[in-house]
């Protein structure tokens, strides 16, 4: 799997290259700013790009803007945006048109190598990976209006994992329950929130996020 990395902190960039190479990814390019990222994407057309939000020259949201451009110009390239803080506005901007092949994670998540690699693989193959923090923010925001309050604690956990972009099997593994139980929870959640049920993980994420006030 081919990866392009855009991260301005050299230490982090080198660490990521090492981690991903070790895990069998092919790192085509590791760059430090948005312009270099755009040309690296055009030159390599990777499966996925890891993009830091804050990069030179303004250190504000150039990474995010580059990510949105890349999603528009190269729909086949998965985009994993990662940052040291989460902004729900950024998440909704990223997910605005379609929730496929996109991720938004805190940089802290690289500490759990397996989870991080799993999220990256998901994004590369057209799936979604939203940071639990982002989902938490969105769910808190949607708490009052969206019927989230009527969910049981277990259902909330399942909803949160769904919104993060996990498949039923992934949710089952994370909560140490069987897939059948997960499916039952999912049906209940969609019924309580009044959403049409959906098989595709991506459509599910979008439905859930729309519902709780996100995209």
């Amino acid at each position: 799997m081919r990866v392009v990395i855009a991260e301005d902190a050299a230490m982090m960039r080198e660490g990521l290259v090492r981690l991903l190479t070790d895990r069998g990814f092919e790192v085509c390019a590791a760059v430090a700013d948005a312009d270099a990222l755009r040309s690296a994407i055009a030159a390599n057309v990777p499966n996925v790009a890891i993009i830091d939000i804050r990069m030179p020259p303004t250190h504000t949201d150039e990474g995010l803007r580059a990510a949105i451009d890349i999603r528009r110009d190269h729909p086949d390239v998965g985009v994993l945006v990662f940052s040291q803080y989460v902004e729900t506005r950024y998440a909704t901007r990223l997910l605005a048109d379609r929730p496929t092949g996109v991720g938004y994670l805190l940089k802290d998540r690289v500490a759990d190598v397996a989870d991080f690699v799993d999220a990256l693989t998901r994004v590369a193959s057209g799936g979604t990976a939203l940071d639990p923090e982002v989902v938490g923010h969105l769910m808190r925001a949607g708490q009052d209006t969206a019927g989230v309050a009527s969910l049981t604690p277990r259902e909330r956990e399942v909803l949160s994992l769904m919104a993060q972009g996990r498949s039923n099997a992934g949710i089952a593994a994370a909560l140490v329950i069987t897939s059948g139980v997960v499916e039952k929870h999912v049906v209940n959640i969609f019924a309580k929130l009044g959403l049409p049920s959906s098989d595709s993980d991506n459509r599910r994420v979008l439905a859930v996020l729309r519902h709780v006030g996100g995209a």
């Binding site: 982090m12 090492r18 981690l19 804050r54 040291q84 690289v110 190598v113 397996a114």
Partner: protein, 448 residues
């Protein structure tokens, strides 16, 4: 100006550029006073003109006169009232700029008018005060005019003996009228060359007296300007406070931004990398049994170890930048500690009977820190003296070095300090001639 009163100074006084500038100021003052005096003459003249134009002055009374007059009279009054304050403001601005350019005296502008509405224009206090200055200008112009007259005609009279031989070279026996010269006490005439020396002597006296007359006139004028053309005392203070408050808010916001940036690019990224390395190391060590890749795991743990130490160092620097813990023991200890980290030897002398307010200690500390850093960067000094003494309710911080001088008070570093201390009504004096030495004095209140 008053301390060096010698006979030479008195003789030199008329021939300085200051005297010339004062003379120009005085002449302009007389002209503006004349213009102001003419206003009361212009208004009735306009009235008469209008009456004449409408036919009121002709022998046959026109039927339209009474209504026209009834409309025009209040209109004129309204126009006068409406125009007075803006005119006053404009005239005040001209006089302030004259004082600035010619006398090097800055009188601050009053706060701007609140709105352009008629009510605001009519009730514009600073505008009316400026009108008051205009009225006062008439008596003020008298000593000014007198001084300028003495200056100009003193010079003219002094020159009589020079041009006498040039023009009075008629054949002997020619009968000529006397030559007249103007003095403050009337005109003097002479028919002889010797007489021109008398005129020249009168001119010299006038010239020597002129600077003092002009000085008296301009001093009075400047006092009136400060009183009537400047902002009111309270308004002045409010303005000052507004400015320093805005700066304090900006500084605080900038500091928070810098702090966020330092954390984001420093400790936070180091810790994220450290976590990543430990995560990788954990994988290399495996869940149980013999580690699958011990060599790599060791390397990663060593990397993480270095990262942790770097993050700690980063945080320590950051914390010291926010509030040096040693400052809790007092300014003396804090400055002594600061001095030990300076590349140039610093002699510290702190004499404080009791501790100033914590905010003042912090400001003093950061000023000292910035000044020491400046000295290390730019001064090429070999020793620095750092002193803090208490004088009354003020604290004096002095930093001096034996370097090359040339510090710019308006530069980004020093002006930043100035902003910081202005918030607590502190003052900074920078004495740093090219070639050195540099001496910076900062005066702070002991309580906020």
């Amino acid at each position: 100006m008053t301390s060096d009163n010698g006979p030479m100074t008195a003789l030199r006084a008329p021939f300085t550029t200051l005297a010339l500038r004062r003379a120009v100021f005085c002449v302009v003052g007389v002209v503006s006073a004349a213009a102001i005096l003419s206003v009361p003459a212009i208004v009735p003249a306009l009235g008469v003109l209008i009456l004449w134009a409408t036919g009121a002055m002709s022998n046959q009374p026109a039927p339209a006169v009474a209504p026209v007059f009834l409309v025009l009279f209040p209109l004129t009054i309204a126009l006068l009232v409406g125009l007075a304050a803006p005119t006053g403001r404009a005239m005040g601005a001209v006089h302030r700029s004259l004082a600035d350019r010619l006398l090097d005296v800055q009188v601050d502008a009053p706060p701007p008018r609140l709105s352009k509405r008629i009510s605001a224009v009519v009730s514009d206090g600073p505008g009316w005060r400026a009108v008051g200055y205009g009225l006062l200008k008439v008596p003020l112009a008298i000593p000014e005019g007198y001084g300028a007259f003495c200056y100009v005609f003193g010079l003219v009279n002094l020159s009589y003996p020079v041009w006498w031989p040039l023009f009075r070279n008629h054949p002997p026996g020619t009968r000529l009228g006397p030559v007249w010269a103007l003095t403050p006490f009337g005109t003097i005439g002479t028919r002889t060359f010797a007489g021109t020396f008398l005129i020249a002597a009168a001119g010299l006296v006038m010239l020597l007296v002129a600077p003092w007359l002009m000085r008296a006139g301009t001093t009075l004028d400047l006092a009136a300007m400060r009183l009537l053309l400047g902002p009111r005392r309270l308004a002045e203070r409010v303005r000052e406070l507004q400015v320093t408050r805005a700066r304090a808010i900006d500084d605080a916001a900038a500091m928070m931004r810098r702090l966020e940036r330092d954390l984001h690019d420093g400790a936070q990224i180091r810790l994220a990398t450290l976590a990543m390395n430990l995560g990788m190391a954990t994988e290399k060590l495996g869940v149980d049994g013999p580690p699958p890749d011990l060599a790599q795991a060791r390397e990663l743990v060593a990397l993480a170890h270095c990262g942790a130490k770097d993050a700690l160092a980063d945080l320590r620097d950051l914390v010291r930048g926010i509030h040096p813990p040693v400052l809790d023991n007092g300014l003396g200890d804090a400055l002594a500690t600061l001095a030990t980290s300076s590349a140039i030897p610093v002699a510290v002398n702190v004499e404080l009977p009791d501790r100033p307010a914590p905010a003042i200690e912090t400001i003093a500390y950061f000023c000292a820190s910035e000044l020491l850093a400046n000295a290390a960067k730019h001064s090429r000094a070999t020793r620095i003296g750092l002193g803090v003494v208490r004088s009354g309710e003020r604290l004096m911080l002095t930093v001096k070095d034996d370097g090359i001088g040339g510090a710019i008070p308006d530069g980004p570093g020093l002006s930043g300090l100035d902003r910081r201390i202005a918030v607590v009504d502190g003052r900074m004096r920078v004495h740093s001639p090219t070639g050195g030495p540099t001496r910076v004095e900062i005066e702070l209140p002991t309580q906020v």
